[in-house]
Symmetry: C2
Subunit: 247 residues, 2 copies
């Protein structure tokens, strides 16, 4: 892997779910607390399938050329996916009557209250305050969801940018190009940071610098030769990423 | 003035230039440092006319029904207005050859580095952290200008919203309606905070709660009966505004 030139980077656009916050542990815990039955269902499998449905919906939306109208609200989408699992999935439909409407509302809201990885807040603070970089979210979460999450988890982002502003979802090019436009920077002055390789691949195709942060149970953690063609930087976590930029 | 019901307010959309930052002193000082000639020009008058040109441009743009395309960059606008003053205004055109290109670039950049009023940061921090309100900019400054200003002045905003996101400028209704949509809130749950009455009047016409903060040399500071029809709250400053919300 050649050493990436980071001297032109002025801003970081950062994925949130998985990259900054530990959605998996939080959602598994929320499910465990909300669905207190015996025998206990496989909470990890339920969380995984819930997220899987979200990923498939994002891929479907991102592939559409036209702006998505009406633009979906992620709370509505999360609720609909949860209903599908609890009412129709062979593994979980026995829970249908047990999990009532108010519990489902509470579970859907759990996506607003995810906790950061231990390195996220100190790393983001160094990147912004000490190194003077503009730190921005660039997430498929809608603006309101992101601001709630920022407040709850005290994520020290300078600015919140969401796919919502561009009428589509990552990995559609409009999201990366729109972010560059709003940041007033050429793409090669922006580094996309994510734990998901498809996000970095799309950012690189739009001229961004890319940084990969592996996270437990998110995507694959060992890169092959093809991945390294579009990954410029690999950092253990946000504190390590700040060290790399400091050099 | 009847007592406004603030119990439904979940977010504040806040004007920045004049309301949060003391543009006048900063720009006067920047002009004084950059244009060191004898006899000294009237820096206060130059700053005032520069800002006046900006206000007239905003009014012109805001009155257009269609989205503004291409959307103006405020740096370009500030530079063009400065050039007009220094090259064509009878009071200042003797400075035309004295103020070179690099000085004009530096002066234009001064709008990114304005200092907050003394009450702004502690007041905003209380409103966000202690009272749990979402604090958002809602400014005609473009996104990049606002994030630079946020970082420079350490303004503790939760989220940055700019007229730029809506393809027009305040006081066009699209700005207030767009902000409500992105915040995921009905207008009566949002309080527009500004030192400019035309901004509050437009926000009220779009269903917002409104808070007026008088600032030295900004607009008029004593309200008449007509103003009070669309001003719900008058606060001395942001610390006082937090006190009003705390009650």
């Amino acid at each position: 892997m050649k050493k990436a030139d980071l001297s032109h980077v002025k801003a970081l656009t950062i994925d949130v779910f998985g990259t900054c916050v530990d959605w998996r542990s939080c959602i598994e815990k929320a499910l465990e607390e909300a669905i207190d039955v015996s025998p206990a269902p496989d909470y990890a499998a339920l969380a995984h399938k819930w997220r899987q449905g979200y990923k498939e919906a994002m891929q479907h939306y991102a592939s559409q050329e036209e702006s998505i109208d009406p633009y979906p609200n992620l709370d509505d989408l999360h609720r609909q996916l949860l209903d599908n699992l609890l009412d129709k999935d062979p593994e979980f439909s026995h829970l249908s009557t047990t999990v009532d409407d108010s519990t489902r509302i509470k579970l859907t809201q759990a996506w607003h209250h995810l906790t950061p990885w231990q390195d996220t807040n100190p790393g983001l603070a160094s990147l912004s305050n000490e190194l003077g970089l503009v730190t921005s979210t660039l997430s498929n979460g809608n603006m309101r969801l992101l601001v709630d999450m920022k407040k709850f988890a005290q994520l020290p982002f300078d600015i919140i940018l969401s796919s919502e502003l561009f009428g589509t979802f990552k990995t559609n090019s409009k999201v990366y190009q729109g972010a560059a436009r709003l940041l007033g920077l050429p793409p090669h002055s922006i580094c996309m940071v994510a734990t998901h390789l498809h996000d970095l691949k799309a950012a690189k195709a739009n001229g961004f610098i890319t940084a990969f942060i592996p996270r437990p149970k998110e995507d694959k953690q060992v890169l092959d030769d093809e991945d390294f063609q579009y990954v410029d930087v690999v950092a253990d976590n946000f504190v390590h990423l700040a060290e790399i930029f400091r050099k």
